[in-house]
């Protein structure tokens, strides 16, 4: 009988939904607050069979996953998937390499190269975002060279080492919304539109969630993008363009609490079912 370890830092409504879904399925859970963990390989004794990584802190989640994998424990998502999805540059590279539509992008380290790169991407506006980050934080829509210089100077002087790489992405003029596509093991299970008058449409920034009916293009995109990053439990941010869908980012510890109601899909239950399915194959 599976005991599912849930690796966490803070417990959000999403983790509560997962715990409730596990209880409904008579699956035993063990909450593991990684902030209190001591990952000493000589003394650590796991009290679970398989782990679901749900840390709000990407760095802590990443180390916890790698440690447990080193002890032979399967973690969802695996570190190979997390490593790609937590880094926007790596995600873009993998998508592009696997012919999954994604906005044009580049990475530079200086203002002068950023100016040239912005022209190469089709000119202003362009988007600058941290390679590590989420919830639409520190995204900058750069409308002209003056803004570009200012943002890079701020990143240089005020930023942590993680802010030094300058990831630049082609600006996509969205129709006031984007799509959050929930994908488990390559299968699209549901999607929402995130509507906002602001160019940043994340629900964490106030974007409004409504159901988005799945279609064959979204299902194919889900499968291809999932295969590109290594599968698992994923939430993909999709833009609608005149040339079709394009994958902006992929999240590996997805938040879904605002999406079960509009879609009518038991996302938490589907995640737990997938954990059980993986466990049965171990």
């Amino acid at each position: 009988m599976l005991t599912l370890g849930i690796l966490h830092t803070l417990i959000r409504a999403d983790e509560k939904l997962l715990l409730q879904a596990a209880t409904r399925r008579n699956i035993k859970t063990k909450l593991v607050d990684v902030r209190d963990a001591n990952f000493n390989p000589l003394s650590y004794k796991p009290e679970f069979d398989l782990a679901l990584e749900r840390c709000i802190s990407t760095v802590k989640g990443s180390y916890a996953t790698k440690f447990l994998e080193s002890r032979g424990i399967t973690v969802l998502n695996p570190s190979t998937v997390a490593n790609i999805c937590e880094d926007k540059f790596l995600t873009s590279l993998v998508l592009q390499k696997n012919n999954v539509p994604t906005p044009n992008f580049t990475l530079v380290f200086s203002t002068e190269e950023a100016k040239k790169a912005s022209e190469q991407l089709g000119g202003y506006p362009v988007i600058i975002k941290p390679t590590l980050g989420s919830w639409g934080r520190l995204l900058a829509k750069i409308n002209d060279v003056d803004s570009l210089e200012a943002i890079i100077e701020h990143k240089d002087i005020l930023g942590s080492p993680q802010q030094k790489p300058i990831y630049i992405q082609q600006y996509i003029d969205k129709p006031g919304r984007d799509i959050r596509l929930f994908v488990i093991d390559g299968q699209a299970i549901c999607a929402i539109y995130r509507k906002s008058e602001h160019w940043i449409t994340n629900t964490a920034r106030g974007g409004n969630a409504t159901n988005c009916r799945l279609n064959s293009q979204l299902r194919i995109l889900a499968k291809n993008a999932s295969e590109a990053v290594g599968g698992g439990i994923l939430a993909m941010d999709i833009f609608e363009t005149t040339d079709g869908y394009t994958v902006n980012e992929i999240n590996h510890t997805m938040e879904f609490k605002n999406s079960e109601e509009p879609t009518g899909v038991d996302i938490s239950g589907t995640v737990i079912d997938y954990c059980l399915e993986v466990y049965k194959k171990l």
Partner: protein
């Protein structure tokens, strides 16, 4: 459903928690709306503290 009474560390209001809360769970004070986290929890006692500020690597 039974509940646990505790005190908001920001506004001192008495806050009622569901018996289903978990340690490390994020909640909001019903009076001042402060974001709080459950620091410790026993059968009938919960200690709250202010939730930490968002950090650079937080997210999905």
């Amino acid at each position: 459903m039974s509940s646990i009474l505790t005190v908001c560390p920001v506004c001192d209001a008495t806050t009622k928690l569901s018996s289903e809360v978990q340690p490390a769970e994020v909640i909001s004070c019903t009076d001042c709306r402060s974001r709080l986290v459950i620091e410790s929890l026993t059968a009938n006692k919960a200690v709250l503290k202010e939730a930490p500020e968002v950090e650079e690597d937080w997210g999905e």
